[in-house]
Amino acid sequence: MNVSDLTLLELRQRLTTVGLCFGCGPFRIRLRTPVAPIAELLHDLYAHYPVYSELGIDDYRVKLDWASWSRRWIRPIVRFTADGPAPFTDVPVLRALPTLEWGTNWCIATRAHHFLMLHAAVVERNGCGLILPALPGHGKSTLCAALTHSNWRLFSDEFGLVRPEDAMLIPLPRLISLKNQSIDVIRAFAPSAHLSPSFYGTHKGTVAHVRPPLNSIVRMNEPVKPSLIIFPRWQSGALLNLESIPKDRAFMLLATNAFNYEVLGELAFNAVAKIVQNCDSYSLVYSDLTQAVQAIDELAHNAHD
């Protein structure tokens, strides 16, 4: 059963009582919230996630609550918690969804140390696992959204989960978060993309979320071997430039990009070494999304041969 199989009323009832237990990649998340307006958004954006039984071992218990009784009615604000003290400041109810998404990401980033977490988007096509590590603002999510709507399977736009034992990539198909101009870029590039309304005035500017396509969620338990690493960078007006990166440099770039490389120590070293050995690495500077997707398609095609 998926979230879309619940009626809005049933979803609301779960959210306000035992919580909605749903699966996202390897994780089981229990979400509880009495904040009514968000249920409708979740019904739409979380539609494809499988609903799990309420009995089970939760990886993350997240909660979005009214910050206080009075602030429920007057300029309402909400508070994110995850079985502990609130990690962030309270936000107006209009920005509840981005906060829920960041909060859940925060939970994963601070706790999922059984995986090596690359700060990277990951997609797959025909068994070719592509890692797109980048700094914030380098257009990683935008490129990921574009690829996801060009026959690539979404693994994640933010967390490249790597299983340290065998260096396989693990899908974590969370909502893709687009910022500012990228929202219109993706609307134009992929009219079929299912976007949330825009949320204005967050600490990252305007934000909108893309719902992961059904296929990427149905196949979220199928890991893939990494075959290609591309370090993307969007630069206004730049000509497409694709350059091969030697393995030693690729290793350093990938290792320093991970969220928890130090925490995993030797495990992380071995995993990154294995990935870099198996992958061709490139840097990609681009301004035109269509060109970039085409160049990546060609690379993947050649890598596969």
Binding site: G56, T110, R111, H114, E262
Partner: protein, 388 residues
């Protein structure tokens, strides 16, 4: 069974504490837990920072394969984090030895660091955030000077807080290396200078009983002193929110089990508690290790400690407060009473920390600051971000 007993057995808090205590005492029974039990156990163990401990026990018993995969994954994540902390803090200690090499000062590692380098059983899976060392009080200025020359930075404190540390406490304000994030606490005694308990002892007494770790230049406290220090840490250094730390009591239980098999240990412990005037602390420590974690303590020891027991009403009060503050609650049903118990014990710890007039002066100053709405400095350490 009467109604009251039935009610207590069925209460969520009872369920929660039974789960955790049984998990710590009988890890071999963990594979029998249901998914729902695991879910609750993991939540409680996380809040008490005991996930690493569960992993260590199950790994030693080779039972990690026999528990649900989702539970094993969370324990593995905790294990990786704990392992990382051990590496980081062992390295920090190595750097401290390097920095202090020239001045040839004896260094005793305390608490978590000591358990790790002495390879004591309670170090397995134990999470610790800071590094604690003890140096002779006569050398402390020299040590601080040398460390600041070699890259450690002093914590930015208000002049009042700085004075509070230096004049009244048993440690100087923490130092932090400018590149590495680990915080180091440098002690010159086990108890605050102003404390009601304990002799105003010369730390050299602790040094004479300490011993050097093989292939290292660091010492650890003698067995008895180590136990007494763990007790002081549990009973006299409270935190109003977290309450008394169950993991500190578990440390004590582990140390008692480990050293307790040595014939002369118990006699030495009594003697040492007497020398350091910590008999009352030892009385409480042994009482609650026995009551809450069923540690085996020789009868003769308990007998000779009865004279250090507090008066009956105080004993009743402590018997009621200690389990409330130490044992876990059900996270979905927090109890007001437990919060009250924690607050009372925190007050008690402060009461014992300094003489009445000094405490009043301290509290008046602090509340005056609060009334002036001076923003307290809130610091987020990387290890907080990586909490289990």
């Amino acid at each position: 069974m009467n109604w009251l007993t039935m009610h207590m057995i069925k209460s969520p808090a009872h369920n929660a504490r039974t789960l955790l205590i049984n998990a710590v005492r009988f890890p071999e029974t963990l594979p029998q837990l249901t998914l729902t039990d695991w879910d609750l156990l993991l939540r409680i163990a996380r809040s008490k920072r005991l996930l690493g401990r569960l992993h260590a026990d199950l790994s030693r018993l080779e039972l990690l394969e026999s528990i649900p995969t989702a539970a094993a994954a969370q324990l593995q994540a905790a294990h990786n984090l704990v392992h990382h902390r051990h590496t980081v803090l062992t390295w920090e200690l190595d750097r401290i030895i390097w920095a202090l090499k020239e001045i040839k000062v004896p260094i005793i590692a305390l608490k978590g660091t000591a358990y790790v380098i002495a390879k004591l059983p309670n170090s397995a899976g134990r999470f610790f955030a800071d590094l604690d060392i003890l140096v002779p009080i006569s050398r402390i200025a020299e040590v601080e000077q040398k460390l600041t020359e070699r890259g450690w930075l002093k914590t930015q404190l208000s002049p009042y807080d700085d004075r509070y540390y230096r004049l009244w406490m048993h440690e100087i304000p923490p130092l932090r290396h400018r590149e590495r994030e680990s915080e180091i606490d440098i002690h010159h005694a086990l108890l605050p200078r102003t404390s009601r308990y304990g002799t105003k002892l010369d730390t050299m007494m602790l040094f004479s009983e300490s011993y050097l770790i093989k292939n290292s230049q660091v010492r650890v406290l003698g067995a008895q002193d180590m136990v007494l220090h763990a007790l002081v840490h549990l009973l006299l250094e409270g935190d109003p929110n977290e309450g008394l730390r169950l993991r500190d009591l578990i440390d004590i239980a582990d140390l008692l089990c480990h050293f307790g098999s040595t014939p002369k240990f118990w006699k030495g412990l009594l003697l040492r508690a007497q020398q350091l005037q910590l008999e009352r602390i030892l009385y409480y420590g042994l009482r609650y290790s026995q009551r809450l974690l069923a540690v085996q303590i020789p009868n003769s020891v308990l007998q000779s400690l009865t004279q250090s027991a507090p008066k009956l009403p105080i004993r009743w009060l402590m018997d009621w407060l200690m389990p409330l503050a130490l044992l876990p609650e059900h996270p979905d049903y927090p109890k007001q009473m437990a919060m009250f118990a924690r607050w009372l014990l925190y007050l008690r710890a402060h009461w014992l920390r300094m003489p009445f007039l000094l405490l009043m002066r301290h509290l008046t100053y602090k509340s005056w600051l609060r009334m002036r709405r001076t923003q307290r400095h809130v610091e987020i350490k990387p290890q907080d971000l990586q909490q289990l």
